[in-house]
Amino acid sequence: MPSFVTYLIHTLFPPTVRYPDILLIDAGLIVGAIGLVGFLTKTHRWGWLWREWLTTVDHKKIAVMYLISAIVMLFRGGIDAEMLRAQLAMPSVHFMPAIQYDEVFTTHGTIMIFFMAMPFIFALFNAVIPLMIGARDVAFPRVNAMSFWLFAFGAILFNISFIIGGSPDAGWTAYPPYTGLAFNPGPGENYYFLALIIAGMGTTMTGINFLVTTIRMRAPGMTLMKMPMFVWATMVTSALILFAFPPLTVALAMSLFDRLFGSSFFTLTRGGMPMMYVNLFWLFGHPEVYILVIPLFGVFSEVVATFSRKALFGYPLMVVSILAIMFLSYGTWVHHFFTMGAGPGVNAFFGLSTMLIAIPTGVKIFNWIFTMWGGRIKMTVAMLYQMAFIPTFVIGGASGVMLAVVPADYQLHNTYFLIAHFHNVIIGGTLFGLLSGMYYWWPKMFGMKLNERQGKVAFWLFFIGFWITFTPQYLLGLKGMTRRLYTYPAGLGWHELNVISTVGAWIMGAGFVVLVYNVVWSLLYGERDVTGDPWDGRTLEWSLPSPVPEYNFARIPVVHERDEWWAMKQKGQTMAHALRPEDVHDIELPKNTPVPFLLGASFFVVGFGMTFKWWPIAIVGMLGVIACLLYSGFDYDDHHHLEADVVRQTEASLGRLQG
């Protein structure tokens, strides 16, 4: 048996996972896990954890779980970023060896996009959408829980790679043939492909779920043109997900086949065609960047109207422009590889289509500015992020147009100019938007406000740190520095700018620390929101108490206006929401189920088994998947009734019941 043990140790713990820093993290994780288990046991919270969280199908709780995962992943991705910047601060420094640097930039990109931004967006969808459209839950609550657990176990599978077996190291785009066995024999890339396929299934299901929810579950009277912009953004994002993720899954599966079953779709030998992968990847990848930013366009539209105390400017054209972006985003993917020799005709076409997409985006920017115009702007943290977003995103968009100029892109492609550009739009658009949304809807999710003063400190650190980090990177691009270099020679003039950039990254890191302090402090001592409407909001979620009761609306509202809650307040009709006891009936609610959690766990087993080609384990996992699906398919006992009396009591205790 000793040979088996040696095999296990060599496979699971190769030298690349035995760096001192990783061993230190191993120790920390073990201590943390023991501490957590001890805490849960001592406070008798295992049952609570299982009943209230792991088996829940309540969209509000799923939102909280998404949010926690996203913040943990922001931490992981952020640590990766700090490590990259530390390495690049000096020329010819070997803080990390090349292989580790390669792994770290790969996990940084993958985690930030797939395991930070996406779940953060879904946290906002889950927290807000049913409340905004006057629904009791999403269209398919159980599928919603499945989506979350597929994402969560996909994220776990991806994240254990650096302590078990070795991380992927081919960049977040994972271009073949470098991902092939000839260059990448370890399990790292298997982790990447399998984790993204599993999480991607969850994402696709979320897309379907919210598409159906926004189309079918709206309260009576809420016509399409009366939907708040965030609902529009969610609908459009869901549609984008629905058509963008299949090409990704196909590309990942084909790469995985090359690695596991010896096919030659993208290999160096036997006529493989790596460019096919690149096309499939970006056929997903370009819509993906709009999946990452359109929801935040929605957030900004809500935030700017609320804190300017003014109706959103140009609503119909905001809808038109978001739809235009949706359609155009499918026609621009080749701009990620103008320099792959597709020919001048193709390049010119995709250059122009990329420029075209700047027009509807520009329209949105003007409309946000004119929403503030003639308003009364309240400088809350949510609004500060929105106000930081406009100039940041405009500059990011401008550098994007420069990259769309095909001949210019020949010079700028894959340089730090490109790196600066996409961080400019993804941090300026997505991260600022996510944080804006978090500060805005936090009272609704948790029943207390995040401390504004601490939030402002975190904001300024993020905002200033961001510009100090990425302005030098534009200049580095003009100096010819290409991306993903683990070190660079002195004498090219790259040193000083890299030092500045690293300092900026530290400032952003400090911003994250303050943000976490802000969240923890506010959870303990934050100002409770007793009104349910702390910001003087405009849309229906603010008509509910904070935090929202399990059933959301005791009586489904009837919508007359675009900003229904604002209109009701203007007419002094808020008491109309106070119920008469006879208005309350039994409420049908989805029932908790362990199936989504077990399904995710089974997929994790499948993924882990396939990563190491341990087929028996993969088969056991697959049987688990089939069992979960079969059980779920024939489980008709999926809802329960909440007695009208219980609802009346809850509403009465909140002071919302007449008589």
Partner: protein
């Protein structure tokens, strides 16, 4: 006489203004993209500048409106700005900002398309010198099919003459990039892509890869020496005489996954570079086939199907 307190902050601004001025005129040659030494890089730079100016106008307009709005309409006691909570649209304003970006983008788009087509082929009437580039793991192999010499990690080209690089890979993908001369192009296995560049000034320039290809990727720098045509011919003659030949055994050594220094070879084995069967566009209007015979390279126009 001005009071001293006017002068002092002004004096502090002088070095700042100087720095800004230096930046805008391109302090040093280290902003290599801003100092191209060949026609390709120059045309690319012109478009970058045009796009930067057009986008600068957009940024200026947006920033002016933005800062005016956030200063004027803040929620402060005593703010006299008009408060119009129900103002939710204006037809003419909205038409304006569909039109304004469209106009500016058209200004960029037309030269973009023109230059994209123009740079796709070597200027007519100029016979390029051909260099076959193969990216290996993690080194560059340059073969001169017209001169029959080869080099690793170093490149010598004549000035004033277009150089047609035929790019392929016997490795994961890389991009072949000489920033001082012009833009990059991918090297891909099982495909050959063309890229033409030209150096108008003699000098030594840096070349590198822009596509990550593994742990040695950061070491894939190479030197490009642009010399006068006469010096180039002399270099070829000298290399053929003094350097050792590249045998198949040497080539197999190069295929190993490692980084190496520079090397020169007086000849190289056949079939280390793929024969170009499918051709590629060099004129923008049709496909050309590269014909190789003993001493020369010619381009045969292919009939459009």
């Amino acid at each position: 006489m001005r009071p001293a307190f006017f002068k002092r902050p002004y004096r502090k601004l002088v070095p700042l203004a100087l720095a800004a001025g230096l930046l805008s005129t391109g302090c040093g040659q280290q902003y290599v993209l801003l100092h191209p030494v060949g026609p390709v890089g120059q045309q690319e730079l012109h478009l970058m500048e045009l796009a930067a100016i057009a986008m600068g106008i957009v940024i200026l307009v947006v920033f002016t409106l933005y800062f005016y709005a956030i200063i004027r309409f803040r929620d402060k006691p005593g703010n006299t700005a008009p408060y119009r909570p129900d103002w939710h649209g204006s037809k003419w304003l909205e038409i304006l900002w569909w039109v304004l970006p469209a106009v500016l983008l058209t200004v960029i788009a037309i030269p973009t398309v023109k230059t994209t087509y123009a740079l796709d082929h070597v200027p007519k009437g100029k016979d390029p010198i051909v260099i076959d580039v193969t990216s290996l793991t993690w080194k560059w192999l340059f073969e001169y099919p017209g001169q029959h010499v080869a080099a690793v990690n170093q490149l010598v080209i004549p000035t004033g003459k277009p150089v047609l690089f035929e790019l392929t890979a016997d490795s994961p993908m890389n991009t072949f990039w000489i920033p001082a001369l012009g833009g990059m192009e991918y090297t891909m296995p099982n495909r050959v892509l063309p890229l033409w560049l030209q150096a108008n000034k003699p000098g030594t320039y840096i070349g590198l890869s822009g596509q990550y290809s593994g742990t040695g990727f950061a070491k894939m720098f190479f030197h490009v020496k642009a010399v006068s045509p006469a010096a180039f011919n002399a270099w070829v003659a000298k290399t053929r005489k003094t350097a050792s030949p590249m045998t198949m055994a040497v080539y197999d050594q190069l295929l190993k996954h490692n980084t190496t220094g520079q090397a020169l070879y007086s000849s190289y084995p056949k079939d280390t570079f793929p024969t170009v069967a499918n051709g590629f566009t060099l004129t923008g209007s049709g496909m050309y086939m590269v014909m190789r015979d003993k001493n020369d390279i010619t381009y045969m126009p292919m009939q459009n199907p």
